[in-house]
Structure formats: structure tokens, C-alpha cells
Symmetry: C2
Subunit: 447 residues, 2 copies
């Protein structure tokens, strides 16, 4: 499914991408460059990442153009020479992309994505590629933890209102669905990505009525096939009795939502009231400040909650709201490259991740190696674009979601815990270490 609004102006970039392009052009540099996008270190709160955002990267690269309006505006800034701006008229992404499919488990230092393209193309796309992969990998990785905690109970993304802007709301709906959520409240995400959409009612609906019972009846009659009544506006238990009375009057009620207070205790009391009233089929949805830890506590405590609405803390990945990701040059003009900045050194050369699994199917260790090395395990980066064109049709989001579930089933038990686990072993191949030493020696000789 296309998402035109997610392919904004190429000016959604850092100024230095453009000034560097102008400088590269001025000194005639445009050989093949290779950049890799990776996360330097996992946040302490994460034992694994779930790669996501690749499809939006592909759409961005395929659509990359400088409209005349954008070039006119750049000209108006006085920062760029006419020849350079003219060269942008035909600017396209003509390179290759290799990447982990979305829904792949990933760890520190592993390239999620590799771009091989003429230097100016490979450089220019840095900002938006990071912006897209960072957000969705961040959210999918957080949502995956909620999915583990929920132990099979459905989760619904309720976080659009406090997601960081429109695109964050839409892409976090997509990323959380990919990670195993059942759907979202965000209507536009349903339209754009075919994510299932869910909704209940707000407190204001109850407040606007002079009494709660009338509010419930009005809502149930207007939504007969889809009635989840919000019962915590005034007094949760009393509201549950009103729901029973409404159902006994012949109005269909599919479920209730509890959004405040001790969700486990309320759920137990409400379950008892509903069951005693004959509403054994009515489902209880809980929401309000939930994250994986609170879900885990409710599930572990056997709270009779059938589904969870999870908003803000998932959408903004509240305990780890960013990943230390980077997009770094690893080769130019056929020569491997690396930076050695303190605490931020990167591995040189085109790399591949080889993953081994144990006899039980669980992940047994990854090897970070040079691309093409004869190494044991399954290579994780796959061809995505060649010469600026897709090598295969865009995958369906549901297929990516299935992949994510299959991947999460391969998590070793230690990594499934919500607490901090011993890091998953990612080994660097001897060839790669040797190359790094060689590159360092060359750079020092030149410097």
C-alpha cells in the first residue's frame, strides 16, 4: 500500500546533507559508497530489537525527487550554486539496498540496512533513513515486550494522542501491529496500512449525558454490533451494575472498559458483577498508563482482563525513547572505511550478519562478518533494491507480522524476560577484526 504522505519533501533532511553534496560535486567525488545503518548499543531496558521501517525506507527511496518548488526555495537561500541545484533536478536513488526483513530480531552493532550507491545518493538519504528506521524499530521493540507480557491476550494501540506528531502516530500503529498488537485506535493507520481498528467511548460521552445509564443506552443503540462501554467515569462497580441492567433490558453489550484505579481489583469486581448478571460473554478491556511491566503484573496476577489498550508508554517507548542508531560509511571507492571517534568507532567494510539457531530452534548466537565470508549460520541481510528498483513486490504487513511472531518464538528464554538479561552473543569475525586493524593502519599512515 502506498503512503504518499510519508514521502515528504526531500528537504526533510539535515542541511549538511545538501552542503556535503555540493562539496562532493565541487571536487568531483561520486564513486560507489557503502553505508550501513545500525544501533550502537541497546538501551539497558532492551534485550533485543525488532527491525522495522524498511518498507517506508523503500517507498522514500523510490519516490525521491526534488520538485521545482524545493529547488526554487533552496536557490532563494543563497547557499547553493546554480550548477549544483540544476544537478538535483535529475537526482534519483539508483543504488542497492540490502536489509533485514522487517520483523527480524536484531542486536547491537548489526547492520539493519546497507545502502550501496553513488556517494551523493548514499549520503543524501541518511537523515530520513535514520528517522524512519529509528522510529519503527524503537516502537516495534517496545511493543514486542508488551506482546510477550500479555501472553496471548490482545493488545490495542491507543496512543495516537500522545505519539510525537502525526507520522509517529501512524507509524507506531503500524510498528506495534507488526510486533503483534491486534490493532489500533488510529483510523488513518487503518486506512493507510490496513491495520485493524478498534474503539470504545470516551468519558465525555458519559459526562455529556445527565445520567450514566442513559449514556450507555444511547451508545449501545447507536453501535449495536460493537459496544464497549467505559465504566470508570464516576464509580466503576455501580457502572457495571448499570451495564447489567441495560443488557437485561435487551440491549446488546459486548464489553466494558476500565481506565483508572487498580485495574486488577476493578476487573475482578466487574467480572463478578457481569457474571452474576448473566453477561459471562462480555469482555473486559483495561487501559490507562499500561506498559509491559504493568501488563505482566496483571497477567501474572490472573486479573480477568480480556484485552489491553496500550497507549503512550508504548508509542513513545517511554523507558527508552530513542535508540543510539547511526548510518555510517563503511566503504568508498572500493576501500573499506571506518570512523574511530571515541566511543563511536564503527566496523569497516560491507558486512553481513550470520545467525545460528540451536536444535530447539532458539537463537544461538550471531556473527558479524564481512559480506561474502564463508561463515556458519543464516545471513540476515537480503537484497531489497537493485539499481533503484525493488527485487520483489512489497511484502504484506500481515506477512511481516507473522514473521515477527515466528522470530519472537525463537527468542532464548533469557531474552524473553522483561528485566535485563545477559546480552545475546554477537561475535565479530576474525576477518572483520583484521580489516579494522588494516584500515586503522592505513588511515594513520595517511593522517
Amino acid at each position: 500500500m502506498n503512503s504518499p504522505a510519508l514521502s515528504p519533501s526531500p528537504l526533510l533532511t539535515d542541511l549538511y546533507e545538501l552542503t556535503m553534496l555540493q562539496a562532493y560535486r565541487a571536487c568531483g567525488m561520486n564513486d560507489t559508497a557503502v553505508f550501513e545503518l545500525f544501533v550502537r548499543a541497546l538501551p539497558p531496558e532492551r534485550n533485543f530489537l525488532l527491525a522495522a521501517g524498511l518498507e517506508q525506507v523503500v517507498e522514500y527511496l523510490l519516490a525521491l525527487r526534488f520538485p521545482a518548488d524545493d529547488l526554487d526555495w533552496l536557490a532563494s537561500t543563497g547557499r547553493f550554486d546554480a550548477g549544483f541545484l540544476d544537478s538535483l533536478r535529475d537526482f534519483r536513488f539508483t543504488g542497492d539496498v540490502d536489509a533485514m526483513p522487517e520483523g527480524t530480531l536484531a542486536f547491537a552493532d548489526e547492520p539493519l540496512l546497507r545502502v550501496t550507491a553513488p556517494l551523493r545518493e548514499a549520503q543524501f538519504v541518511e537523515t530520513r533513513l535514520l528517522n524512519l528506521v529509528h522510529l519503527q524499530t524503537l516502537v516495534a521493540s517496545k511493543a514486542a515486550r508488551c506482546v510477550l507480557a500479555a501472553a496471548g491476550r490482545p493488545l490495542i494501540d491507543f496512543g495516537l494522542r500522545r505519539a510525537h506528531g502525526a507520522e509517529a502516530g501512524l507509524l507506531s500503529a503500524r510498528a506495534s501491529y507488526l510486533a503483534g498488537f491486534a490493532g489500533t485506535s488510529a483510523v488513518e493507520a487503518a486506512r493507510r496500512f490496513a491495520v485493524p481498528v478498534f474503539g470504545t467511548m470516551a468519558h465525555s460521552f458519559v459526562q455529556a449525558h445527565d445520567d450514566e445509564s442513559t449514556a450507555f443506552a444511547d451508545f449501545a443503540r447507536a453501535q449495536p454490533q460493537n459496544t464497549t462501554l467505559l465504566i470508570d467515569t464516576y464509580d466503576t462497580a455501580r457502572a457495571a451494575h448499570k451495564v447489567v441492567a441495560l443488557a437485561q433490558s435487551g440491549v446488546a453489550v459486548q464489553g466494558v472498559r476500565i481506565d483508572s484505579g487498580d485495574l486488577g481489583a476493578h476487573a475482578r469486581e466487574v467480572r463478578r458483577i457481569l457474571d452474576q448478571g448473566g453477561l459471562t460473554q462480555a469482555r473486559i478491556l483495561a487501559s490507562g498508563n499500561l506498559d509491559e511491566h504493568r501488563i505482566d503484573a496483571l497477567v501474572s496476577g490472573d486479573a480477568p482482563i480480556d484485552a489491553f489498550g496500550v497507549g503512550t508508554r508504548m508509542n513513545v517507548s517511554a523507558d527508552a525513547p530513542f535508540l543510539d542508531c547511526a548510518y555510517k560509511m563503511v566503504e568508498y571507492g572500493g576501500r573499506p572505511r571506518r570512523k574511530r571517534s571515541e566511543g563511536k568507532a564503527s566496523w569497516p567494510g560491507r558486512k553481513q550478519v550470520y545467525r545460528r539457531t540451536g536444535s530447539d530452534g532458539a537463537l544461538a548466537g550471531d556473527l558479524l562478518a564481512l559480506d561474502g565470508e564463508d561463515a556458519p549460520g543464516v545471513p540476515l541481510l537480503e537484497p531489497v533494491l537493485r539499481a533503484g528498483a525493488r527485487v520483489a513486490a512489497a511484502p504484506a504487513l500481515d506477512a511481516l507480522r507473522d514473521r515477527a511472531q515466528a522470530q519472537m518464538a525463537m527468542l532464548p528464554a533469557a531474552l524473553r524476560t522483561l528485566g535485563r538479561a545477559t546480552p545475546y552473543p554477537v561475535t565479530v569475525s576474525p576477518s572483520l577484526r583484521a580489516l579494522a586493524a588494516k584500515v586503522d593502519a592505513q588511515t594513520q599512515a595517511c593522517a
Copy 2:
């Protein structure tokens, strides 16, 4: 300046806004409703908020329409009746908005914004209004702390790549500029909001060259009026000597950027090298994992840093990545309303915030009172829209930025600290307390 891409489809909303509208229509409810948007409690890491995002709210409300495509898609879901969807064809925002101007200091429980409109309009806009005000208030409040810490040294937003999506990148550039940043690296934010734009160079520019000196020379020649050279790719001190050599060869160099390691120590060493080489005018820009605490440490330690590039931790408000904000009905059909959900009760009735200042000009205490109450202090909520139209032209962003600076100058000393201060006093007026008790009594009688 208009920002059309920030007025996305009305389907950027929670499903329940639409299902509630259908139910309100079915039961004929559309009297005047009043909703207020406020933050329930400040994060422990915040002593004040800086209100922001109002201009995008206004643009959203003025542009609110249901395009035919959107209605067709809603019809295709089978969730809505034809009469309801038909009623959305003429759906417009015709109500009033009162709000704190952007750049106003705000505290817990204080309405940042009040909507007075026919129920369906006032209800429908909930999700997007929260989404817009939340993000910019969040970021402006974080950025303001960086501005306090920088003590007059310029700050530049570098965070687009790890902001949560495109809109977060653009709006955090706007919000941080409003809070006192000098500008941003995000080109599209410069175009859209006329925020000053800045850029240096990336490590990849150095890496692509076989030696660092050539890279510096190539970049400086291509950007003669605007050369900030990144000097930490390999060895910061050696790179500083190369910058000196380049300048001594007659190439203009305006400054250098240090992006890793001990920024204070590197800055001192680099300053010494530059000064000894005669580059006393060359400025040092520091970046890399900065936030208000690290800036404060560098400034307190008299590090010779002329400007700071601040990215991720500011853009995502890393230590407090969300605000507990809500948009709650306070009146319907002329009757005050409140919810009493545990831990989430809200104050009923149309409210105003009255602010007193001391003889030194510093804030001396706020009163949360009923709108129109005869109270001491300056009322903070001002008319913005009347009957769906602006009461005044859109303010210039620079005027809002000036306002923010004037407001921050009024912060009591205790609130200017980066640590946790005693909360600023916000008192609830006796009339408001009496109204809450009265509303509760009525609700209980009805319930």
C-alpha cells in the same frame, strides 16, 4: 506561514471520536460543549512547562474538512450509517478557542486551551489537538531547560534523524526555536517555519577522502562563507592542527565541531591549538548526546565552547518523553461537568488562570478559577478563535520566541534549577471548589 502538510486527513483520529459522533447524532445531542486541554501533573523532571503548538491547532481547526475520499473509505468500513457520513460533508469547526499564547509558562492542572463549540465539533477534534499541543509543549519545555543551562550560548537543534517521524522533526525544530534555540539543522523546518538553519559536515565526508586534510580543504573551498569542520573522526587534536594548517594556507575556516569524547577537555585543547595557530575567531561547536545537564556541566566548567548542537535527548524529551495531558469536558448544555475517575478527576466548569507577579517581576503564584471570577492577577487564556475564525492574525514565530524569553525571565530562581524544585503554587479558587462539590452532588443524585 501555512503548513498544509501538518493538516492531514481528519481520519488522523481515534475511531471512538467518530463512533461517538454517530451516537450523538443518533440521539440528537449537539448543544454547546466546553472542553479544556491541560496537563494533570508535571513529570518529576520538570519545574515548568512552556505552552506551544497552538498555531498548528488553529491551522488544523480552520482547515478541518472531510474530503470525499475519506468519506468513501469510512463508508467502506461498514461501521457508519449513510446519514451520519452525509452529515460529515458539511462538518466544519465553528466554535471558539481560548488559549494561553505560545511561549507562556504553564503548570499542572492549568488549561492550556479551551474549546467551546457544538458538542460534535468539540469532541471530534480531541485526538489531534492533544497530539499537536502535547508534542510541542513537551519539546519546548525540554528545550527551555537547555536554554537555561546554556546561559546565553547558542543552541542548534540537530535531532531530526531520531525525532519520532517527520512531523516530530519539523515541530520539534519549531518548538525548540520558540523556546530559545538559535535554529535547526532541519531544512524543511527552515522553509516551513522560517527557523534559521545551520549545518556542518558529517564524518562520512572525512571518511570518503583518503586523508583528513584534503577533506577539510575540499569542504572549505565548497562552502567558503560557512565552514565548520568536524574534527573528531580520527584524532581530535591532530585534526585541529590540520585546521590551523589549512587556515594558514589562506582558506577561510569559521569553526570546528567536536562530536565525541570528553567535550570539555577536547574543547580546551582545541581552543589552545586554534589560538596558537592564530584562529582566535574560529568558533567551537560541541555536539553528541547533549542535554541540559551535560550543557550545564560544560558551561559551569567554563569549557571554551561557543555553541551546542543538541539533538535526540531534546527532540524526544528523553528524560520525560510524554506529558500526562488530557482534553476533558467541563461543561455541556450550560451545565458544568467533571469526571471523577480515580486519580484522574478533573475540575468542572469554564476556567481561567490568573497569574500574579511579585515586585521583582517574577511569577508569584497562579489561581485556577472560574472564567469571569473577580480574581487578582492577569488572566492567561486569551481569545484565539470566535465562531471558527481567528480573532487576530497568526503571530510571527519570532514574536512567540520573544514572548517565551520574556516569560522565562519571570521564572522564580527556584524554578530555574535543573533539579527538582518545590512545585510552583497553583491555587484552586473557593468558587471552583464549591462548584466541583455541587457537580459531584448532582451526579451522585442522578447516578
